[in-house]
Symmetry: C2
Subunit: 114 residues, 2 copies
DNA sequence: TGCATAGCTGCGCACCCGTGCAGGTATTCA
DNA sequence: TGAATACCTGCACGGGTGCGCAGCTATGCA
């Protein structure tokens, strides 16, 4: 198993075979980037509070989220915009109220942990 | 249940009771901050690769981590320093080699997901 | 039709963070 | 003892990002 890319094949290693195991453990770089992106969405206390509220109490309006988290409306909008662009939440418009909910299964699974 | 703090009790709400449910769902703000901090450690692709390698293949030396991830040594050291300060990883010195491993149970649980 | 409200957006500011480079410390071996 | 190596640290730079303010659009109700 020669999993070490050619551009770093000449570097010193302590346990050469464990390096290959590590590369296999890391897996696809694109997948790692995708997960890092997901985690970065959860890495902000305000966004995480929004997601926890949505995940555990179901669909909520923007204003209510603002009151529940102590943020002001534009900040909530901004956060939800990010989350919506990433496919983590989705909003349903009912009149002039938009209720959001968490739609990403992976994120829901992570949210169940905390 | 009047969970809404006094400083935002006068704000308009859509579903007043659901706001209280949401506040209860968010729970302790300190806990949310702690989890956001954890997630921010996983939010970088390089750090996440390091953690995946450590989690799935066991203790690894800094140099080997550098080769496996394609980072250079100072970057790995810096990342491990952050993770060590947060109590996520721990290093054991054997001669001039330091082998790191993941020691935070919560982080391990999250890493099992991806 | 006119007003109030729910939500969204642009702009600007400040702050944090990841990274490369250069240099320092500690351990091993000849 | 001196050289090589494994790892760590300080510093400066660039990029990304959260947030508040002001203003805009759209919907509902009188």
């Amino acid at each position: 198993m020669h999993l070490v890319p050619a551009d770093r094949a000449d570097r010193r290693t302590i346990d050469g075979h464990r390096v290959c195991d590590a590369i296999a453990a890391i897996g696809d770089a694109e997948r790692v980037r995708a997960w890092a992106g997901r985690f970065s969405l959860l890495a902000d206390a305000n966004r995480l509070a929004l997601l926890l509220a949505l995940h555990r109490t179901g669909p909520l309006a923007v204003s209510d989220l603002a009151v529940a988290t102590g943020m002001n409306d534009p900040a909530v909008s901004q956060a939800l915009r990010l989350l919506r662009a990433a496919g983590v939440v989705a909003g349903e418009k009912e009149g002039r109220v938009v209720r959001y909910r968490v739609v990403d299964a992976d994120v829901r699974a992570v949210l169940d942990h905390c």
